[in-house]
């Protein structure tokens, strides 16, 4: 026997005191979604910026190895991390109204290009050098280089050499 869906639904709404979610609730969700998108885009740009900046930093600090092949200092894990961020951005974008209508490969290509180009622009600017002047950031950059730049941990960093007094 089929049930009376209309009657049962109205009864359930009344019995369980189901309320309508307010407009402000959905507005807040939208703001959150936009906020997450912006944070993801900025994070992606910063990661790609690091990817471009760290090899040149290593080369700069190792003048005797200035001819080192750029690829041998390339931080591949950062490329993977940046690509994962791009994937997340695409996932969020496709949840926007109309986002799913765009061709996935084209969307992915455009987002990847924007993040990559943004990262290259930031790496070309003075931002990293400025940040490195602050002790916390200096340690952060050093950590990134030690962990993500191949042979980065091997180089003779004057900052890390034991002091002659020790």
């Amino acid at each position: 026997m089929t049930k009376d869906i209309k009657k049962e639904t109205l009864k359930k709404i009344s019995d369980e005191k189901i309320k309508i979610k307010s407009k402000s609730y959905f507005q807040l969700l939208n703001i959150l979604l936009y906020g997450i998108s912006v944070v993801l885009i900025l994070t992606g740009i910063y990661i790609f910026n690091l990817m471009f900046y760290l090899p040149s930093r290593s080369q700069r600090m190792l003048p005797q190895e200035s001819t080192t092949n750029y690829l041998s200092l390339f931080p591949w894990p950062l490329l993977i991390a940046g690509s994962m961020i791009v994937g997340l951005i695409i996932f969020v974008y496709r949840n926007y109204e109309g986002g799913y209508k765009k061709h996935l490969a084209i969307t992915a290509g455009i987002i990847f290009f924007i993040i990559l180009f943004g990262g290259a622009l930031v790496a070309g600017a003075n931002l990293n050098e400025e940040l490195e002047r602050k002790p916390h950031f200096k340690r952060f950059y050093q950590w990134n280089e030690d962990n993500f730049v191949p042979r980065g941990h091997q180089r003779m960093n004057p900052d890390r050499l034991p002091s002659p007094m020790q």
Partner: protein, 187 residues
């Protein structure tokens, strides 16, 4: 208030402005088509009814998220689709269907403006459609049983319009094995 003169979009706006009043009118309008859609996707009629009941509750709760500038029908079908898929996942699996291996002809161009003779095809599809994988079944049900156009199907399933066309083509290709659809004759 005479609700009969209101379009679905106007009724949804009325609900937004009046704390959900008018939901019963919406249920009267959509119960039959949504239940028909759910029953095509899910083999168990009780589960289909549960899915549609959950659809109306979700519609009531989330009516303020509906953008009244956009058509209402794809919005509520989208909710019904999600609830039906949830029901399918939470119960025993449907027939496992990828046993049918058809390699679609990638060179075939699909003209999405060309329509198949729907009445003739619907009659042939009815008995065998349950054999299809869900991703083909849903587009064929929406297109040939619910009379939705490609734009609406794209909105309901949240997939690009071209993907809708490709899935319909592949679904019909798979069904060709079971029934004599000479659908190219209809194109």
């Amino acid at each position: 208030m005479n609700f009969d003169s209101l379009s679905d979009e106007e009724l949804a706006l009325y609900m937004q402005q009046n704390n959900g009043q008018g939901i019963e009118i919406l249920m009267e309008r959509y119960e039959k088509p949504l239940l028909r859609y759910a029953k095509r996707l899910i083999l168990d009629p009780d589960c289909a009814e549960d899915a549609i009941q959950n659809t109306f509750i979700a519609t009531y709760q989330n009516i303020n998220s509906y953008d009244t500038k956009r058509p209402f029908s794809p919005w509520i079908y989208r909710i019904a689709h999600n609830k039906t898929i949830n029901e399918i996942r939470s119960h025993k699996p449907q027939i496992k269907l990828d046993e049918i291996n058809v390699i679609p002809d990638s060179k075939t161009q699909i003209d999405i403006n060309t329509e198949i003779d729907i009445k003739k095809l619907r009659h042939k599809l009815t008995s065998k459609i349950d054999l299809l994988p869900i991703k083909y079944k849903e587009v064929i049900v929406l297109r040939y049983f619910e009379d939705k156009n490609y734009d609406e199907i794209s909105d309901i399933l949240k997939i690009p319009k071209n993907t809708v066309g490709v899935r319909i083509k592949r679904g019909l290709d798979k069904l060709k094995i079971f029934i004599d659809i000479k659908y190219k004759d209809y194109l």
